[in-house]
């Protein structure tokens, strides 16, 4: 296995960083998926595992940060290599945040599933998580393959996630109004939905970083962000 003992060339060092990002990505994807599974299946054991897994991401982020600083100091990289290293730092912190959000969902499992909840509460959330996970996987695949022509899709999907989040928000509010006993689980589920929506945002951040690593240019800022949760009608929609 690669450790710092076997690391000889600059290339190896870069490759090591990228491999660590891959490992972090794998953990982050897994944590989010398992947190959702734990929530839907009321599996407190799985939820505890997710919470424990977060330590890995925290450690890796720190390691990548330290190693990146050492490489920059020792090798004085420029242009593409420098972007690669700075990008690794950024992506690792996004992935670490995704892990935190996954952990937060897992922590709510016990509170939500204390009493038996009807399936319908979870359906929308499950679909939302499916979208976010697809987006995260696509982004990490783009990082792996460097095929940035696929980045456009990532942003489209982010809009889809936002629209779905808004809709889910309203649905959960309805359940709370129907029956005050729903307020506790639904509030937790609202936070879970918000977490998932944030995961989508971090995935979009990663996409922007990857674009910068590969091309050296920033993605054009084309997304006016607005919180539509409290509004019933959106402004003129995109075509």
């Amino acid at each position: 296995m690669q450790t710092h003992h076997t690391m000889r060339s600059f290339d190896d060092e870069l490759k090591y960083l990228v491999d660590q990002i891959a490992a972090m990505g794998g953990y982050a994807e897994r944590m989010v998926a398992e947190a959702m599974e734990a929530l839907i299946q009321s599996d407190a054991g799985l939820a505890r595992k997710v919470v424990a897994d977060d330590v890995f991401l925290d450690e890796k982020e720190r390691e990548i940060g330290e190693r990146a600083v050492i490489i920059i100091g020792r090798r004085q990289p420029v242009a593409g290599d420098l972007r690669e290293i700075v990008g690794a730092i950024r992506i690792s912190s996004d992935l670490e945040r995704i892990g935190d959000l996954g952990k937060n969902i897992a922590k709510r499992v016990v509170a939500v599933t204390e009493s038996k909840q009807p399936v319908r509460l979870f359906r929308g959330l499950d679909a939302l998580a499916g979208l976010a996970l697809t987006q995260l996987k696509e982004v990490l695949d783009v990082y792996a393959s460097r095929s940035i022509e696929r980045i456009g899709f990532v942003r489209d999907r982010d809009e889809e996630i936002d629209a779905m989040y808004t809709s889910l928000f309203r649905e959960l509010l309805t359940y709370m109004m129907e029956d005050p006993r729903n307020i506790t689980p639904c509030t937790h589920l609202l936070f879970c939905a918000k977490n998932i929506e944030r995961i989508g945002d971090h995935a979009t951040n990663i996409a922007e970083t990857v674009h910068h690593i590969v091309t050296g240019m920033q993605l054009p800022l084309e997304r006016p962000k607005e919180d539509k949760s409290h509004r019933i009608i959106a402004g003129p929609g995109a075509s």
Partner: protein, 423 residues
């Protein structure tokens, strides 16, 4: 104020890209973008052949590779790479640094094409895959197998083994055995039972309640009896419809990856569906207007499944948009290589914006009361979405409250030449 919900089936766009391109057509010469990764020269195949020149151990392959490669041809006369390419299951050959040297066609088809020198750890990020790869490299020879599953774009499950090719080659093989089918059947069964038991409970409770009443207080009341029997009849019919829909959804979920191979004239198909819907339209007081060309428009697809798509869309238009009095069914293709669009538009109350992203979700109803009254099962659009995913097509929904809703199906164009071929 128009809202546009582009409802891509999960991961479908990713898929369209690879499928419409040329993936699977002539692997293993994988695309080679000029990225920072690219070091050394030559295709993956050349690089691997150079590495392998001279020492591919003939006796080990018998164990490592599936039966397809054994045969009358002596293994010695075949280049090692051709052997790997002939393996029907996804297979990667990688080196000590976990750099992929070779991916066979099955691998490119299953996991998308990769560029030369990509790290296997980047391609497969799951923690247990990293462990497996590390173990294979560290142990040098012995092999181990793990279960690996991917959830997106569709759920797939594999048994993955990593082993060394051995004898000083410093090369390793990662082999995937697809077990999705078995997994999917299991899940389908579980999902079906969960959904059926949940959704059937309400009508069943109502039927059993009426039976109790008929046996007790209403025993000698002919008017009430007739009334109750009618309600029970409606409820049992609803259960039957639910079961039908659940079954057809489950059947579709069984095979999301098999793309239909047929060729269908969309104009003729729409015409047929419109005719068959006349009756229902008449009942709802709706006229169906046709706006499609007289010349055929061909798309790749399965005739019966597409009929189901447009039946569901038109049925919805009659049921929920019937207040508008008319439905407009149109089909168009701007040019021979442009996407084909088929739209079912109603002029009813429309769908509120917040519901649009979710209407294809299972059992999601914009308005439960209307849906029940119209004998909806909450599954119609889920079925549409599933069928379209299989067709590499997507559904977009446009609606404005008070003005109606338009459901448009976007089909990818047929590849050049295919359209002119006789059916």
């Amino acid at each position: 104020m128009e809202f546009w919900g582009a409802l891509l089936p999960d991961g479908a766009d990713w898929h369209m890209k690879t499928n419409n391109g040329k993936s699977g057509s002539k692997a293993p010469e994988v695309l080679q973008p000029s990225g920072p990764d690219q070091r050394g020269g030559g295709s993956l195949r050349e690089r691997l052949q150079n590495r392998l020149a001279g020492f591919f151990p003939p006796d080990r392959q018998e164990d490592d590779l599936p039966v397809a490669t054994k045969g009358p041809v002596s293994i010695d006369t075949l280049p090692a790479v051709s052997l790997a390419a002939a393996v029907p299951d996804p297979l990667y050959i990688f080196d000590r640094n976990a750099e992929i040297l070779f991916a066979n066609e099955a691998a490119n088809r299953a996991f998308g094409p990769i560029s030369s020198g990509t790290s296997l750890r980047l391609k497969f990020r799951a923690p247990e895959m990293h462990e497996l790869i590390a173990d294979a490299i560290a142990s040098d020879g012995s092999s181990r197998a793990i279960n690996y599953s991917e959830r997106v774009p569709v759920e797939r499950a594999y048994r993955v083994s990593a082993s060394s090719i051995g004898d000083g080659t410093e090369l390793f093989v990662l082999l995937f055995k697809d077990q999705s089918e078995a997994r999917r059947i299991d899940r389908m069964r579980a999902d079906f039972i969960a959904n059926a038991s949940h959704e059937l409970r309400t009508p069943l409770a109502s039927v059993s309640g009426f039976i109790e009443t008929l046996r007790g207080p209403a025993r000698d009341d002919p008017v009430a009896r007739e009334n109750f029997l009618q309600i029970m009849h409606n409820q049992t019919q609803r259960m039957a419809r639910l079961i039908d829909d659940l079954l057809s959804l489950s059947r579709l979920e069984m095979k999301p990856y098999l793309k239909p191979s047929g060729r269908v004239d969309l104009v003729q198909l729409l015409d047929g569906v419109v005719e068959s819907m006349r009756h229902l339209a008449g009942e709802s007081g709706v006229t169906i207007e046709k706006a499609f060309p007289s010349t055929p428009i061909f798309v790749a697809g399965n005739h019966d499944e597409l009929v189901q798509v447009f039946e569901n869309l038109m049925e919805n238009a009659c049921k929920y948009g019937g207040a508008g009095g008319r439905i407009l069914v149109s089909a168009e293709q701007a040019g021979p290589l442009e996407e084909v669009r088929a739209t079912v538009r109603d002029f009813g109350p429309g769908i509120p914006e917040e519901h649009i992203p979710r209407v294809t979700e299972r059992f999601y109803r914009v308005d439960v009361e209307t849906s029940r009254a119209q004998k909806g099962t909450g599954l119609g659009l889920s079925i549409v979405k599933h069928i379209l995913t299989r067709h590499d097509a997507r559904l977009s929904i446009r609606s404005k409250v008070g003005k109606g809703a338009a459901f448009t199906v976007h089909f990818p164009p047929l590849p050049p030449g295919a359209a002119s071929r006789p059916a």
